[in-house]
């Protein structure tokens, strides 16, 4: 187990990257703390898998270094790094039995047969495949195969980190939940550093202590699920996390006031001069329909999603979302929307601006 440090790391799949756009992974400095569970969240093609493959040593970065406990491992092979990785699509050794599949990584390291047998039993119990241990791996269903892949990833106890690359994509929802619980349990028991790549926010938020959000080859925010929800550092985080995502409304910022299309509203804190493309961000959960206070809106549609109502409304020609309580009355007099100032964030060129006199 080790603390993994990324130092000035960047990667391009092109041999001679010229501009920043050529980089699949833009320059990155980060410490993965020993024993923490991270989720790497982002839409497809944002560089998540690239980052994972660099950490495990399947890919050599174009620049920068990777350190394990301060020791440079940039040129080290996957074997030397001693990392386990599970891929998106199941990889099983078809001609082997389930048992041999699970034992494979241990046998390759020359472990004692008695230990291997015991460990395989343990893992089989964990993934619920004790009954099929002596079956050939070929011919199993996709989710059974993926369970084997997961099992192979977890079978080594001494790994420096466990990496998961969207491992539950092919697994049915019920099993997904169960396996995720197993992974968390495993994490609590053995305290491996885990990095879990996903594009599913629920998965990320339930699995991880810390979520790393990536966008367009860049890490835009690292934080606890709560931080990501309350103070998205980038409008992308706002959109991506939350259902529906944050409303981003163009506005001018002047001190303690935001001006939205000529209409003023108060902010909770004062801001220094903010330049660039400025906007305010407000989560639908913190917007309220009202008959007398706030900005003028037209309600377009109300969707009842069970626990609450989702209001689609138009604010100066822009569609925004508002979450209303299940019992809230939404009548024709609801022509205004009020944003809770304590939960309004200010953005300049898509990045969050910290209010004056307060740290970000």
């Amino acid at each position: 187990m080790a603390r993994i440090t990324l130092d000035n790391l960047a990667h391009s799949y092109l041999p001679n990257p010229k501009s920043e756009d050529d980089f699949a992974l833009k320059e990155l400095n980060h410490d993965w703390e020993d024993g923490a569970a991270y989720a790497l969240l982002g839409s497809s093609g944002c560089g998540k898998s690239t980052l994972l493959n660099i950490i495990s040593g399947l890919l050599n970065p174009s620049q920068g270094r990777i350190l394990f406990d301060g020791q440079d491992m940039t040129q080290a092979t996957t074997a030397e790094r001693n990392i386990a990785q599970v891929f998106q699509f199941p990889v099983v050794y078809d001609t082997m039995t389930v048992r041999d599949n699970l034992a494979f990584p241990l046998r390759n390291r020359g472990e004692d047969p008695a230990y291997v047998a015991a460990r395989v039993q343990e893992i089989a119990a964990m993934i619920g495949m004790e009954a099929t241990l002596d079956h050939k791996a070929r011919g199993l269903t996709a989710d059974a195969k993926q369970k084997i892949s997961l099992g192979r990833g977890m079978v080594r106890k001494d790994v420096n980190a466990l990496l998961f690359d969207e491992p539950l994509t092919v697994i049915d929802p019920h099993m997904k939940w169960e396996l995720r619980t197993q992974l968390k349990k495993l994490h609590h028991e053995f305290g491996h550093t885990m990095i879990y790549v996903t594009h599913d926010q629920t998965e990320a938020l339930t699995f991880a202590d810390k979520v790393v959000v990536m966008y367009d080859g860049r890490v835009v925010q690292i934080g606890t699920p709560e931080e990501l929800f309350e103070r998205p550092a980038h409008t992308f985080v706002g959109y991506f996390i939350g259902s529906p995502g944050m409303n981003v409304i163009p506005a001018q910022i002047e001190g303690r006031r935001a001006i939205v299309h000529g209409t003023e509203m108060d902010l909770a804190d004062g801001y220094g001069p903010v330049n660039g493309k400025t906007a305010i961000g407000i989560r639908p959960e913190f917007a309220r329909l009202s008959s007398d206070t706030g900005l003028p809106v037209k309600v377009r549609r109300v969707e009842d999603v069970g626990r609450h109502k989702l209001v689609r409304a138009e604010l100066f020609g822009q569609e925004i979302n508002i979450v209303a309580g299940e019992d809230d009355r939404i009548g024709p007099d609801m022509t205004r929307v009020w944003f809770d100032p304590a939960h309004v964030n200010v953005y300049a060129d898509d990045w969050r601006v910290a209010p004056q006199g307060r740290a970000a």
Partner: protein, 289 residues
């Protein structure tokens, strides 16, 4: 659901039936016809029953040819399959050199059989052939027209040269279809090169490899032109394979009855072996499914 019964649908099968009748059934029946009759001049035929079959089965000639044939097919499979796989494993996976290798390897496959025979016939000649002359100058006693071992070496080398590419190309196609994740997972699991071959590449290649083996077996079992052009079946009968022997019997000696009986048995052997292959392959598929 009600099934509509319409006997007229049989007419739809008719074209295929006619085609198969003309291309396979009628010629085969002609052979069957010859195999149970004795023919004299003037198109006189007499019923001979199974006499020819009995005679052929008691004759060493067919057995010897069959033995040579099995040896030939066995040897070329034993060389071409591992060699083809080895070549496929070492071919570049992409880029200019991958295309280059593919083109170069396809070339022998495009050359007509009798041309291949002629090439090797000349190539191996001690007086003017590059191979024969060089070996001779190196002091190696090589003469495929007089030494049966040399003749065998020559026809086997020729077949390996001509057909290894086919195995290699099929194996290469099999290898290319393996997703990268398998190799990555193997790296993570710290599998040795041998383990990667044994547990990933070989199982994934098995399907195409079975097809390659079947194709190579059938083709080599029926081979005629190439060895005929090079050695003519000689020296003596050393390289007289089944087809060569059959043609000698049917056209050289004009023994139509025995030759027809020979043909039918030859056909049955091929049918039986194909069936075995088919069974093995479908079983593999079932296990794979």
């Amino acid at each position: 659901m009600n099934k509509t019964v319409n006997q007229k649908a049989w007419f739809l099968v008719l074209p295929v039936l006619i085609l198969v009748a003309f291309s396979a059934v009628i010629p085969l029946m002609t052979v069957v016809n010859y195999s149970v009759q004795d023919s004299f001049g003037n198109n006189q035929f007499f019923w001979a029953g199974l006499e020819w079959f009995e005679q052929m089965l008691h004759d060493d000639r067919m057995w010897n040819a069959l033995q040579r044939q099995l040896m030939f097919s066995g040897i070329i499979l034993a060389i071409e399959v591992p060699l083809g796989v080895y070549v496929a494993l070492n071919m570049p996976k992409s880029g200019f050199w991958a295309s280059f290798c593919l083109v170069v390897m396809s070339l022998p496959l495009l050359i007509p059989w009798n041309v291949v025979g002629t090439i090797w016939q000349v190539f191996g000649r001690v007086d003017i052939g590059l191979l024969g002359y060089t070996l001779d100058k190196l002091g190696i006693d090589y003469n495929y027209t007089q030494d049966s071992f040399d003749a065998w070496v020559t026809i086997i080398a020729m077949d390996v040269w001509h057909w290894t590419s086919l195995v290699a190309l099929l194996a290469y196609a099999g290898l290319k279809s393996i997703p990268d994740a398998y190799y990555q997972a193997a790296k993570i699991d710290q599998a040795s090169r041998w383990a990667v071959f044994r547990y990933i590449e070989l199982p994934k290649m098995m399907g195409v490899l079975m097809i390659a083996i079947l194709l190579r077996f059938m083709d080599s079992f029926m081979i005629y032109t190439e060895p005929f052009v090079v050695t003519g079946g000689g020296p003596g009968n050393a390289t007289t394979l089944l087809s060569i022997d059959l043609v000698k019997m049917a056209l050289g000696q004009f023994d139509l009855g025995p030759a027809a009986a020979f043909s039918i048995m030859y056909f049955l052997v091929i049918l039986a072996i194909s069936w075995v292959f088919y069974t093995v392959m479908t079983n593999l598929d079932k296990k794979g499914g």
